[in-house]
């Protein structure tokens, strides 16, 4: 039943787009990350997308086939936290409006290098301290800036430190968003009054005012009518004022159209982040810097040390971290924080140990060390692929081998975290960008 259906699908594609970029791949195993492992997998790629993927699917005659039963395919790697190929200096400590997409340079040599190591998606963040701005998700091979961008404004980078100024930056940001909300509210009042003067019937605006009041009572914190969402506004022609550039990012955070990636070094900084966040309801993930004597194990979960606050695991956030074992402070006792966080409920997202080409080369091997120290291999692969995509909100496009997703794949000659495994080929958007692949 299933087979027939797939055949039909394939044939329609084959018929309708004879000239299309069509390729069938048959490998020993596909680790899809999202949908488990498929043995003897067949993947059909068309126009840079995965059209179908399944076990031992029959392939219609005429479709070119890449037959590599000894290979294992995994999704293209996603490093969501990088500055490779970017060279601008950081600006003001409070520049949430800065976008890394403005400094893209697709021809940077590094991209051509790291693509060989299986990295097909990068999240590039702006340089600088404090709140340096917004990151962009890019392909690692493209001719132009526009082609390169997978999605812009994927997260707002926030550097949290245990100092008053770092906390103030965040609270100031939300204050600006408050000011903006106030501005919108006033504009609305003015708009309604003007309307009244113009001679509209008395009852209607009154009603509207009342509903407005009710709304504001119900949702005192979030009060930022966006034109698209609030149909009422659109109907009567009210256009709310645009937030100023500094406030925009925080307005977006509250609307959850932007997420925050909060960089912390220590357990104290985690608590200070929760403290300054207060009751704000936004989407946020963590970038945890793995220093050798990191004390972040204290905040892995609430239970272990009886914290007043939820731990990182309890919050179920993503933790962007280097694959590196740490030590219990003051000792030579090693700790696997990735495993600790993961066991507590956090979603681990690995990035290379350092932001250099060479570390991208060693990335798979370095994650292998963490696996060797007890981290689950399937979580490790997730952490190199879909995890990063989720942090950037591009999980619908990249990060796993699923129907409809971008055909970004890494072909290996063995299990991903075996020391002897080497990358044989890399595919980006349906095209082989590395590897000697003669079909």
């Amino acid at each position: 039943m299933k087979h027939i259906l797939l055949l039909a699908l394939v044939s329609t594609f084959a018929a309708s787009t004879a000239q299309a970029d069509l390729l069938a791949i048959r490998v020993g195993r596909a680790e899809t990350v999202a949908k488990g492992v498929i043995e003897h997998a067949v993947i059909l790629v068309e126009n840079g997308k995965i059209v179908t993927i399944g076990e031992d699917l029959p392939i219609e005659r005429g479709i070119p086939i890449l037959d590599r039963p000894e290979w294992i395919v995994v999704p293209g790697f996603v490093n969501c936290y990088s500055r490779l190929g970017c060279d601008s200096d950081g600006g003001d400590d409070m520049s949430p409006d800065v976008k890394a997409s403005d400094e893209l340079w697709p021809q940077a040599e590094e991209y051509a290098e790291i693509i060989k190591y299986g990295v097909t998606t990068l999240g590039l963040y702006p340089a600088g301290n404090g709140i340096p701005g917004q990151a962009v998700a890019v392909r690692t091979k493209a001719a132009t800036k526009a082609e390169m961008i997978l999605q812009d404004s994927v997260y707002l980078k926030v550097i949290m430190r245990a100092d008053a100024s770092a906390k103030k930056r965040v609270s100031d940001g939300f204050k600006k968003a408050d000011e903006h909300a106030e501005k919108v509210k006033k504009a609305r009042e003015k708009f309604d009054k003007d309307k009244e003067k113009k001679g509209a019937k008395k009852e209607e605006p009154k009603k509207e005012e009342k509903t407005d009041e009710k709304k504001s009572l119900q949702e005192p914190a979030v009060e930022d009518p966006k034109p698209d969402e609030k149909k009422d506004d659109k109907k009567d022609g009210f256009v709310p004022p645009a937030p100023d550039s500094k406030a925009k990012a925080f307005v977006d955070l509250r609307e959850k159209s932007l997420s925050a990636l909060v960089s912390i070094n220590s357990a104290a900084e985690y608590l200070h982040w929760l403290d300054v966040l207060g009751k704000e309801d936004i989407k946020w993930d963590l970038r945890c810097v793995m220093s050798l004597d990191s004390d972040l194990f204290y905040v892995a979960n609430k239970k272990e040390w009886d914290l007043d606050q939820d731990g990182i695991g309890d919050k179920k956030v993503h933790v962007v971290m280097e694959p590196r074992l740490t030590l219990t402070p003051g000792t030579m006792r090693s700790r696997n924080l990735a495993a600790e966080f993961s066991a507590s409920g956090a979603k681990i997202v690995f990035i290379p140990r350092n932001d250099s080409v060479n570390d991208h080369k060693n990335w798979l091997a370095n994650v292998g060390e963490i696996v060797g120290a007890g981290f689950k291999p399937e979580s490790a692969l997730h952490a190199m692929t879909l995890g990063g995509a989720e942090v950037m909100g591009v999980e619908a496009r990249v990060g796993s081998l699923e129907k409809g997703k971008d055909a970004n794949m890494v072909f290996l000659d063995g299990a991903p975290f075996e020391a002897t495994t080497r990358i044989q080929a890399v595919m980006l958007d349906g095209k082989f960008v590395f590897g000697d692949v003669n079909q």
Binding site: A162, D163, A164, K167, S266, A267, A268, L271, H272, D275, D295, Y298, V299, W305, D306, L307, D308, Q309, T328, P329, G330, T331
Partner: protein, 476 residues
Amino acid sequence: MILIQRLLTCCFFAALALPVHAVPFQDEGGDAKKDEKQDDKKDDKKDDDKKPEDRWFAVVGGDVYTGTGAVLRGATVLSKNGKIEKIDFDVYMPPETKTLDATGYRVYPGLVAISSQGLLGNSGGDFEDTIDPFNSRMILGLATGITTTGSGSSAVKLKRFSVDDMVINDKIFSIFSWSNRSPRGKYDLREKFKNTSEYLRQYREWEKKVKDQKDLAEPSKKNVDGSCLSVLKGETTAKFVNNDADELLGIARLAQEFGFRPVIEGAQEAWTVADELGRAGARVILTPRDRRPKSELQAREGGTSIENAAILHRAGIPIAIVPSTEGVDLGGIAGRDIIHLPIEVGFAVRGGLPEQAALESITITPARIMGVSHRVGTLEVGKDCDLIVTDGDVLHYKSFVQYAVVDGKQVYDKERELFYAQIRPRPVAAEAKKVDKGETAPVKVDPAADAEKKDGEKKDDEGKDEEKKDDEKKDG
């Protein structure tokens, strides 16, 4: 005997009380009221928020040394939401109460270090924003028994794993300089106090009159010094760092003239002018082991004395003790830094300070000096549940803190942290309580309990000692 002791304590309190009455502008009673008011406000705020479930915590079975002089053997300390609810025997505890068994151990109020370095992480000021409640120095602080420390002009609790509400007072001191090397400086400071005090007098008169004469101009603030004003109004405490006797006398005179109670840190020669300092209502922060020989050119008494604390105590002066090194020193020299605070206090006892006053010098007295005695410093109902559980007399050199509790929450367990876990682990420590050949119970050196007392008590001791000795021989 008991009668004599009581008499003495009465005298002591009387001595304490005297300077209070003599001081018109600031007294501790006023302080406490102010603090209470603030507290009420805070509580109101809390009520506005959603009420979480009550958090019950109890320490059971230990010998409770409340720090007020009372000892309740095998009593329970029950706390609700971080405040002490009850200290008593056979206490009813709600079923959800978390308990900590302190049977065979002693329970003391958490120690208060009037100053320390590093226990709060690398933070300086702005503690709510900069504290590192995970740093290893804080663990060592709690392991020493310290649950509250002064830092700069703030009193901060060692609230591990939390960045909220750890500052209990952030405006304690106004620091002044008074040096023999700068006669001009001394003159200027006196002028400042004079002008400010004059302003304050005018202001109070104006306050009375302005009710009737509404257009009366407010007195000019020209020549008024902010620090002096806050001291004279009783908002902050004047602090001096001085050691020389004549400087100390100068400060005492200044304080008496303008009616404030100074805090003097250092105070090495204070023992030579104890009565004068006592009359001025001074409070002293000192290090018993400070060592400075008397100048050879000086005819009168001077230099440091191991008896400094004891002499000042007898003059009715509240004493807080700091170690010679205010930070943590793990370089190898043991016994001089903040993690050996009770050892330093031991040297004050050596100089004759009674044991109770010695305990107070690292609990309630520093709490009073910092204006936080309504929250910490003793175990009393209504105060913060900050306590430590030790395996012996807190001032004994072999005693270790087994548990520390801050705000009704256990934040330190000796067995769980790496620093001291290997030293006399708990089950053994509890068993081996009786045997230790070299260490007799320290003979009381309280001057109040002198000669006659010794005869009676020691005969009892002798018997015990011989029994012990026999036991040991059998073991051998």
